[in-house]
Every structure is written in C-alpha cells, then in structure tokens.
C-alpha cells in the first residue's frame, strides 16, 4: 500500500530529478521529509562538480547538516532529527549513499526504480538491514514507488543523449507497487 502522501513526496523527488536533467546531469532527485514536511531537497550534481560522489542524497544531507548546526543543534540532537526523517529518492540509493544513510540513522527510505548495478538497499548489498556486528541499525526501506517515471527520466537522459531533445510528457499513470 502506498499512501497518497508517499506519492506526493515522490512527485517532488521526480521534480528534482527533472531539474538535474535540465542541467545535463543524470536525472536522480530526492526530498527529505520530517513530520510530514519537506525540509530539504537534492539532485545529482556529479557533472557540475566533477565529483562523482555528489549524488542527490548527499546534496540534501549536506543542506540539513549545515542548517541544523547553524541553528545551534548538538550532534546528539542532529542524530535525533535524522532518526525522525524519511528520504524519498527516485532511484534506489547506491552502496555509498545507503551506507551514508545508515550512518546518519535515517528512519526510512522510499525509492523509485531499483539500481541493479550499484544498489545498496537490496540490489547488490543490503546496507538497510540491521547488523549487530558493525552496530549498523539499518533503516526501513520500500521501493518501486513511481518507478516508471524515474526510469523514463533516466532513459531520456541516456537514450536521447541530446539534452535539447524534447522531453516526454510526464506520464499520469502511477505504478506504485509497494
């Protein structure tokens, strides 16, 4: 079951992915939600920064870390904040981002399409699972939310190659499977 809110937040993540596409970046986007409110968003910036680690998740996380500490929050308080946050991202977090999200102790992650080659939430590694040996508390994870839309954006990017080519209209049918 996908709640209507889940779709609303994923729609916002997709909008972030579109911003990435417009900027000739791999179209992946995300939003971070606390208490039903979007508190940060991010999109892929690997081309602009020439830093292949600047994934959407990392961009959004950095915004929060800076903001919260500017507001005087201690690390204990920051940890508490993250444990109350949900991430909505158009593509399954990669191994790096999944590991980062576990390190931050995020509450849960909702993603669109799965990431067959780099996925860290079940596709290649399962870093969202609790692991007592390493003290990883893991996080809840659900995929397949508006996966079609996420894939269409990625195909637009890779298949057309030409950034000026017309983008397909946003499909209205939602095919959430979780």
């Amino acid at each position: 079951m996908t709640s209507p809110n889940t779709l609303i937040f994923m729609e916002l993540a997709i909008q972030q992915a579109k911003l990435a596409l417009d900027a000739l970046e791999v179209p992946v986007g995300c939003v971070i939600v606390e208490d039903g409110k979007v508190i940060a968003s991010g999109r892929n910036r690997t081309t602009e920064t020439r830093n292949a680690t600047r994934h959407a998740e990392m961009e959004a996380i950095d915004v929060l870390l800076e903001q919260w500490q500017k507001n005087g929050l201690s690390m204990t308080e920051v940890a508490k904040k993250f444990s109350n946050c949900s991430l909505y991202v158009t593509c399954e977090p990669c191994i790096m981002c999944a590991s980062a999200l576990a390190t931050l102790g995020i509450k849960d992650v909702f993603y669109g399409c799965s990431n067959d080659k780099f996925g860290g939430c079940g596709s290649i590694l399962s870093l969202h699972l609790k692991d007592t040996a390493s003290l990883n508390k893991g996080f809840k994870c659900a995929g397949g939310i508006m996966a079609t839309e996420a894939i269409i954006l990625l195909r637009t990017f890779y298949d057309q190659g030409n950034p000026n080519a017309p983008k397909p209209h946003r499909p209205l049918a939602h095919q959430a499977t979780t």
Binding site: T46, T53, E66, F118, N136, F157, D159
Partner: protein, 426 residues
C-alpha cells in the same frame, strides 16, 4: 626484508581453503573418443556451461596399457537430484543416441585464482587457469623502486593521520605516473569547514605538485623505537572504523567548525581532487561528455552495455598511457616546473575523474568510502590497517570483487607495524 614483501595484494575473491574449494555436482559420462568432437559440439549448442567457463568439458585419462579414456560433462546436476528426470529433452536424445551412461561427479565452482588452487582443482576435474589478464601495476609484484614509492606515500598518509593530537584516518591521492600528490585529506567528521566558496579552495592544495621529498625514509616506519609503543592510542575518531561515533558528540563545538558525520578522509580527498580539477581546467567541455558515463547507466536499456565497454576501453587506454609515461619520462623534479607549464602538461593528459590515480589510506575504508572510490574511478587503493567491523575491501565486504560494479580498482595492504601511528614526544 625487501620492501616489496610489505605490499600484499587483496584479491577480488576471499581466498578458499586450498583443499576445500567449493564444488558443484554435474552429470558426466565416458564417451567413445571417435565421437568426442561431435558430442562436444552438440553439447555446446544444447547445454552450454554458462557459469562454469573455467571447467573443461572433457576429461582425459590415460589408463594402464596406454588406453585413453574420455569423459564429458553433460550438464549441472541439482542438489539431491540423482535422476536424469530434469535433464532437458535434447540432452536426453543425445544420451540415448550415443548410448551414454551418465554418472554424477564434482567440479570446482570457481575459477582458480592461483596455480596452487588450479592444481588442486584438477584432482576433481580439469579446469583452466588464466592468470589475471588485466594489467594493473603491482598485482604481479612491485619493483623495488615502486615499492619504495608506495611506502613513502603511505608514510605521508600516516604522518597526516597523526599530525594532530587525535588520530584520524587520512587519505593521499597520487598520480603514480608523475609520482605527484593530487590531494590530501584528514577525516573532517569533527572539524567540518562549511565554506563552499571556490576561493576557499586553498592555494596550498594546488602546490600539491610537491613530489614526495627524498628525505622521507620508508625504513623509518619499520624501525620505530619500541619506547613509543607504550603510548596507547585511541582510534575512536577514525571515521571509517567507527562511523556511528559522531552521534556521541555531546555539546556544540566551540570552534567555527561543524561536525559532518560523512566527511571521512576519502570523501574529503575526492572532493579536493575534484576542486583541483575544476581549478586547473575551468571550462572543460569534454568533461560534460564524459560524465554521461555515470553510475545510473545500468538503468537504461541496451545502450548501457555499449557505454560500459567504452568506459572500460578508456580506462585500459589510460592505463597504457600511464605505463608509457612512467617508463619514458621519469619526472623527478616536478617542483621545478612552474604552475603554468604544469597546467599545460596536464592539459594534454587530463584524467577523467581519478582514472589512473592511486589513493593511500591509513585504514581500510568503510562501505561508503570504498563505493565513493568506485564512483570516482580510482585505480589502486593502498591501506595500512584493516577495518574488521566495517571494512569494505576484504574485511566485511569486498567491493573490488563485486562483478556488477562498473569500475574495479586493485587493492593492496601495506604492512606497517601499529607503532607507526604512535608519535614520540621528543
């Protein structure tokens, strides 16, 4: 002891116990040598051994009296399946037309990674052994000169890690073809400078042209006086070792620095090598083109496999270039080159991300850092100390052996005594 004994390659696969290598069951049958060619040709069509490419289809035994006995693998036999019921119909036909009598035998599941493994494997059933085909310097051993240089760079990393009262992880990214440091970083988990302005990119980082000084003596690390040993160091601040430690920080730091739980040394060094790239090559158009080869490409359709090949070809090409420049022009005095000529030198050989670069880390990286180094296309990783609880290059995971990833680096451990981390207060 020579220096090259101090550098161990960490292979893609965990080492198997030589005498207990994993096996799988197969149906095999002895065949008449006269029909061998026909049968094997037919078998390759109707029952190819997809996951057992290292296993030879035919076993040849010379019996007493010089008579030759040939056996052939028909297909995989599934667990607890001693019947031929599940054998595909076309194979059933072949069995009956040549009047074969199938039996179950075992073959080794994985390709041998060493000659010793291969010799053991052939006791079950012959396999083929191909020593590593891709060519990365060091996998087959380091020259004395190269290992000297590896030890020196590792020493810089250790010095960086211990340069402040608290020991943290440190990273040094190096262009091995020029023996040049590209960027250096310490963990910034507890000392994050949030300044993002490009002007913040310190000039000192650019003077990264400092080639390692010749005064550094790699042997020094190995001959530390035992008087240092009693200093018991705490490694609680090493990001990759204790990624969850950050949340224990009680009060807001007094300094202008913030905390950033994810700013492990490897991540920071990647960031600073990217900043260096942007600074040296401000308007590089080709980078846009190249960055299309990004890490979500797996999600696209068939075109992705083509792109993948292009990436591989590029990487291989770069490796060759590096090997050449390494032998032809041993640039020893980079410090004499001024920034301008350095830039123009680099222009001709501007690498894509960190392609062709090595990274030296004091501790084996965690999963986040190891994957970041895949993304940034690092060529070789050297680390001194393993990370038993969260290490991703052999300890807990082994990303260098994850076949699905689009880039694979070679991983080495540099054997240093732990005392290398203990500074003498003299």
């Amino acid at each position: 002891m020579t220096n090259n004994n101090l550098i161990l390659h960490i292979p893609d696969e965990p080492p198997h116990d030589l005498h207990h290598q994993p096996t799988v069951s197969v149906f095999a049958s002895s065949i008449d040598p006269k029909h061998a060619n026909q049968i094997v040709r037919r078998l390759n069509q109707i029952a190819p051994l997809e996951d057992l490419r290292h296993v030879k289809r035919i076993q040849k035994k010379v019996l007493e009296g010089g008579q030759i006995q040939l056996s052939v693998i028909l297909c995989l036999a599934y667990e607890g399946d001693n019947q031929l019921d599940h054998v595909p119909p076309l194979l059933q036909e072949l069995i009956s037309s040549y009047q074969l009598s199938p039996f179950i035998t075992k073959v080794c599941k994985y390709a041998a990674t060493s000659k010793e493994e291969w010799q053991e494997q052939c006791k079950f059933w012959p396999t083929s052994y191909h020593p590593r085909t891709y060519n990365i310097d060091g996998i087959t051993g380091f020259s004395e000169e190269d290992s000297q240089s590896v030890l020196k760079f590792m020493q810089s990393a250790v010095e960086l890690a211990t340069s402040d009262g608290l020991v943290v992880n440190a990273a040094v990214i190096v262009d091995p073809s020029a023996k040049q440091i590209i960027s250096t970083a310490r963990d910034e988990v507890f000392s994050w400078n949030t300044c993002k302005d490009e002007s913040c990119y310190r000039k000192s980082d650019l003077s990264s042209s400092h080639p390692i000084s010749n005064s550094l003596d790699p042997q020094k690390l190995l001959h530390l006086r035992s008087s240092c040993n009693h200093l018991k160091q705490s490694y609680a601040r090493v990001g990759c070792l204790y990624p969850w430690q950050w949340a224990e920080q009680q009060s807001h730091s007094e300094s202008s620095y913030y905390c950033h739980p994810l700013r492990h040394a490897a991540i920071v060094s990647i960031e600073s090598s990217a900043a260096r790239d942007r600074h040296l090559f401000p308007n590089d158009e080709s980078s846009k083109e190249k960055n299309l080869e990004s890490d979500h490409e797996s999600l696209s359709t068939s075109s992705s496999s083509k792109r993948q090949k292009t990436v591989c070809a590029t990487v291989e090409g770069d490796d060759k270039l590096n090997a050449q420049s390494q032998t032809s022009n041993q640039i020893e005095d980079n410090d004499k080159l001024n920034t301008h000529s350095q830039t123009s030198n680099l222009l001709s050989a501007r690498p894509y991300l960190c392609t062709g670069y090595d990274i030296y880390l004091v501790w084996e990286p965690c999963t986040m850092c190891a994957m970041a180094l895949v993304h940034q296309r690092i060529r070789r990783i050297f680390y001194a100390f393993p990370n038993p609880k969260t290490g991703a290059l052999g300890s807990v995971y082994r990303l260098q052996g994850e076949k699905s990833l689009n880039h694979h680096y070679a991983v080495f451990r540099v054997l240093l005594p732990e005392e290398a981390l203990h500074k003498c207060d003299t």
